[in-house]
Symmetry: C2
Subunit: 303 residues, 2 copies
């Protein structure tokens, strides 16, 4: 199953050097999920060949402009190109108020249902479950209410070991049961354990998105053992005071967080406009967490 | 005096083919005026090497997203890079409400004064006067309240004909009076007419901006005899019914308007997403108004 994230925007509040405000697209088995939607996201989607109307769920972490000012343009364009399918939107309660005010004054009535679910930043909450995926929001510590999002693949059923099944002549009708954990009793009375007749499944993978936050311990329980952790790294650690003042994180802290929570890989982003060259941020994080990568626009990262 | 307009966005509501939503920058003697501010305008300004903080006045024609969704991002970035100078904003009354709602929820207090002046779409009104320029808003006919903007250079004083003044030995103290229309009486009693002692000035130039409008006669009085008319031309004329339905104009109608009002030159833009190739729009307008040009992003046009 494909499970990847495309970086659409990697900049912090002031876009510069061709970098755009924050937005990410998750492809989970060809289902598309947008996470944050900074100004220009619809243009970035077009640039990377993604049709906006393939997106069914949009998650907004908080109401700083660099994380949501592309949203109204995107949902308006979906309307203009004839979307009929429901769109599910998750974000702080006031997001709905902001969207409604725009549509009142632009006299727009969307041709598709926009389903809004308000997030809260007090505790972790499952906000979406599909056959394959569970999405939770969890509190971050930023200047205004802000949540991260965690995407967990659900445990899949194992696959039948087709060679063994054929050798034993197991009737097809039994196979779904075996996949679900029933042992197989052969006509000669031999019992074959389901574990010996199946392969896998691969361990479920997980992705956590920490958009804007100061480094605290409060959000660490929610991002334990993820396969890929995206963590903002607005500053180098020589600016840690500035990071504290503005409720942001340094690259060193991002690496430390990844190490502490036992993440497999770390993706850093949300770069301050003061860094044209991003390598020092990467190097700094790698001093504590080697499996760090830079979030670079247009790149897909495996989860 | 420099008097030019830079196209930052030339697209109608759905940005496509690398075209951006509407925004234009006017440079009048190195004073910068922004007219409309579609999503991504701050990125376009950066692309063309314009520092946002050089802009002192922003004019918003109406509250369809493709004409203002870049505004909050731009004024936020001005704040973040330390702007202290006043910014003057002109637009429909609800624009202020929309901005305020964003800043309440993002908990932003701008570090510079943002002076808002509401426009109205009932009659022409002078909304700004500087030493050199007079800016008026005037009603257009669109689906929601919408104004155009007209930029008129003020009549400048003539220049002294330095050779004549030197030949006659006119004392320097008289020159400012002569420029202002006083004749000169020489010591021998001869009176020299001020017109014969001065050169120019060049005729004042004017630019009118018709953002989104259906073709009516109502706005024609406000755009008479402009040097450069920008007029939307969303559709080709075979789509005139669609233009009427959506309160837009065809390229043919834009050309006809330019001809009717005695404009010197016409710039067309706000292209529908259905036109990848813009030449047919240009050709159609030129069938009635030869001095038509396409608004192309990144190009400066003399007024």
């Amino acid at each position: 199953m494909r499970f990847e994230v495309l970086i659409l925007g990697s900049s912090s509040a002031t876009p510069i050097y061709g970098r755009h405000p924050t937005a990410q697209l998750i492809n989970a088995n060809e289902q598309l999920y947008l996470v944050d939607c900074g100004e220009g996201t619809q243009l970035q989607l077009a640039k990377y060949g993604i049709k906006g109307n393939r997106i069914k769920h949009i998650f907004i972490s908080h109401l700083h402009g660099d994380h949501y000012l592309g949203l109204i343009g995107l949902i308006s364009s979906m309307h203009l190109v004839g979307r009929k399918d429901e769109l599910f939107l998750y974000g702080p309660p006031a997001l709905k108020e902001i969207i409604d005010l725009h549509f009142v004054h632009s006299q727009t009535v969307l041709r598709y249902p926009l389903r809004f679910r308000a997030t809260q930043d007090q505790e972790e909450e499952v906000i979406l479950e599909t056959d394959m995926l569970r999405v939770s929001s969890f509190p971050l510590d930023h200047r205004i209410p802000c949540t991260g999002f965690r995407f967990d693949e659900k445990q899949r059923l194992p696959s039948i070991d087709k060679e063994k099944a054929a050798a034993l002549g197991i009737p097809g009708a039994y196979l779904p049961l075996i996949k679900r954990g029933h042992d197989y009793s052969a006509p000669d009375g031999t019992v074959y354990r389901w574990q010996d007749l199946t392969i896998g499944p691969p361990a479920p993978r997980s992705y956590a998105y920490c958009s804007d936050t100061v480094r605290t311990d409060r959000y660490l329980p929610h991002i334990q053992h993820v396969d890929l952790l995206y963590h903002e790294a607005t500053f180098l650690h020589d600016m840690v005071e500035r990071a504290l003042d503005t409720y942001h994180t340094t690259a060193l802290q991002a690496g430390q967080v990844a190490e502490l929570v036992g993440a497999k890989k770390l993706l850093i982003g949300h770069y301050s406009a003061r860094y044209k060259d991003l390598k020092p941020l990467l190097d700094e994080s790698r001093t504590v967490f080697d499996a760090t990568q830079l979030a670079l626009e247009g790149n897909w990262y495996n989860i």
